[in-house]
Symmetry: C2
Subunit: 372 residues, 2 copies
């Protein structure tokens, strides 16, 4: 497989587009099949934040995310150059903040965990927080500054990736893929031949190949998109996230006085409905962090399905000769897009994928068995 191939990418989210762009640039003949559904990437906040989201027990994910984060500035620069479009990369970093006593204890645990890994974080007092971000609420009493985290505008980045892939020669086609097998991708009443198929269909990937059945589960996330009206305080300049009464909430600013508030997390099957309770919780938690949002316009309330795996790490590698997988990125599709595209190209060139993302893990006793 080290020579140039006809590659069909199944899925037009951030992973499929990043793979398509990089593969087309490398000289492969690339076609992308996009079901035209609302991908998780369309709903995402666009945080590139492995450190602020670090969780004890997920050190491999932190490692992988950190490596991909290092690639993002160069990836974004090439993307802007190849596409002629903006990604609105933000470098202001993240504040992780806490409201109540229990949340402050969570924050302390995160700080200790990061310190134990040698990661830089700075503890901030209420006064320091408010001096940097005057819109923070009076209940926000403690925080951590995570300066290295980035963010992109997810929708601008998707548009740029598609343009860049097209400019590199990739072709796009609307359609719903029903199955993938060596040498072919099956659509409704049609079969498209290829040398290599790359399954990057997110939460739907489990339906496409026996090797993925039961290994990818949809994890629903509800997100609100707000915009500060002229009379309201502008959004913060940094991403602000918290535990608020034990619930995770993030607020990612956009250039256009916009603010993305996310995200609920439910194992609810393939359900894209936005619940009244989800919206209620997101608004309440966001308002604790940023009281001024009561005056913001609620522009959209929508849900996406993250592709979850048993260990929160993606699956990247061969399922069988001619069938490659690059999915299972859960909450980290944007963050891991550069390193995923790089890994897919390396695998296409005959190398083994990094062990942490090898689809064989967990099947051969290396990880926990999948309970998806």
């Amino acid at each position: 497989m080290s020579e140039l191939s006809a590659v069909t990418v199944v899925g037009g989210g951030v992973i499929g587009l990043a793979v398509a762009w990089r593969a087309a640039r490398a000289g492969h003949r690339v076609r992308v099949i996009d079901a035209g559904e609302r991908a998780a990437s369309w709903v995402a906040g666009g945080m590139l934040a492995p450190v602020a989201e670090a969780t004890p027990g997920e050190e491999e994910l932190l490692e992988l995310g950190s490596e991909s984060l290092l690639r993002w500035p160069g990836f974004a620069e090439e993307l802007v150059r190849d596409s002629g479009r903006a990604t609105a990369l933000r470098t202001e970093g993240t504040f992780v903040v806490a409201v109540d006593e229990a949340d402050r204890a969570d924050l302390d645990r995160l700080a200790e965990h990061l310190a134990s890994l040698g990661r830089e974080v700075t503890r901030l007092s209420a006064r320091e927080l408010r001096r940097a971000e005057p819109s923070l609420g009076p209940g926000v009493r403690r925080g951590l500054a995570v300066p290295g985290d980035l963010a992109v505008d997810n929708r601008l980045a998707l548009a740029a990736l598609r343009s860049a892939a097209e400019a590199a020669g990739a072709e796009f086609r609307d359609g719903r893929v029903r199955a993938v097998r060596p040498g072919a991708v099956e659509l409704d009443g049609e079969e498209l031949r290829c040398d290599v198929a790359v399954i990057a269909a997110g939460a739907r990937s489990g339906e496409l190949h026996d090797g993925l059945r039961g290994r990818i589960r949809p994890v629903k996330g509800e997100v609100l998109r707000l915009r500060a009206r002229r009379s309201a305080l502008p959004p913060p300049t940094r991403t602000v996230r918290g535990p608020v009464h034990g619930r995770q909430v993030y607020l990612v600013p956009r250039d256009d006085r916009g603010l993305v508030v996310g995200a609920t997390q439910h194992d609810a099957g393939f359900d894209l409905g936005v619940t009244a309770g989800g919206v209620r919780d997101l608004l309440a938690d966001a308002e604790r962090l940023l009281p001024g949002i009561a005056e913001y316009e609620l522009v959209e309330a929508l849900a996406g399905l993250r592709p979850g795996t048993h260990d929160n790490l993606p699956l990247i590698g061969w399922l069988e000769p001619g069938v490659l997988v690059a999915t299972g990125h859960h909450r980290n599709g944007f963050l891991l897009a550069p390193i995923t595209a790089e890994a897919v190209l390396a695998v296409l060139a005959g190398q083994r994928p990094p062990a942490a993302v090898d689809p064989e893990r967990g099947h051969d006793g290396g990880g926990r068995p999948c309970k998806c």
Copy 2:
């Protein structure tokens, strides 16, 4: 003006459509100009509830609303016959319920006020309420049954009115009217001649004629449209409304497991943005009445502009020869549509409008001067 005329109706909301239908049926040559904006009627709950909404000091509105309510069953029947469409008229009535001590005092005042006017209401205990509507929350402790109130599906009714008007010969045209004067309606770069122009442009009416300037103010209302998912309790069979901690909220069921939750009330100019704070309040108040809605799908969050007047009564009658007005219905456009159409037809036939809605009131010292 007693003979048949060429009538141009400015506005395609419930009032404009009802007037157009009835005028076309009476033999007038009718044309409707619709700006294609989201009318308040599109956002409305569709309650026909003069009694449940009665307010001391607004006895004329209660009287007018009650008279119009009496006409609704016949109006709806003719509408269904003329249009071949449904209006989903609901006859289950309204429960007005209360949560906290102060809300219960409000309820008692409403009951006393209605009793003093000789109106039938029945007081209900917590147990009676829950027996009739099992989805009511545990905090709902007292209520009033208002059996005579009705409700329609606002969007079905609008579609039926348009079909009925077309079937009766009315013509429709998209366009934004800039001014109305005797004998003509001015659009951008065009003038349409007519014998009579009827201004039924809701909150925008004040911009169209000097006689209305400063007399109609936009009163913004935010509304949520929910739908009970399969796993959730269905909506109540009756309209349920409350004061909840002093805020008015209503829940109007739709046939399709839908529920309309409204409405905030803000003097905010011509702003159609839905605020995060408005959605938060509507969800919180609705959930106090009906806890199960946390599991409902939030289908839409939208805002409309009610046309407010100084005394909450509409303006129906001549502004000058050839220019008629039928607007200012505030929260009562659907309720007052039958009697408004009837009044407009009577005025076209040379009669005087009812004194309570005469546009001359408040200008000639008869009412409070307008402070809009």
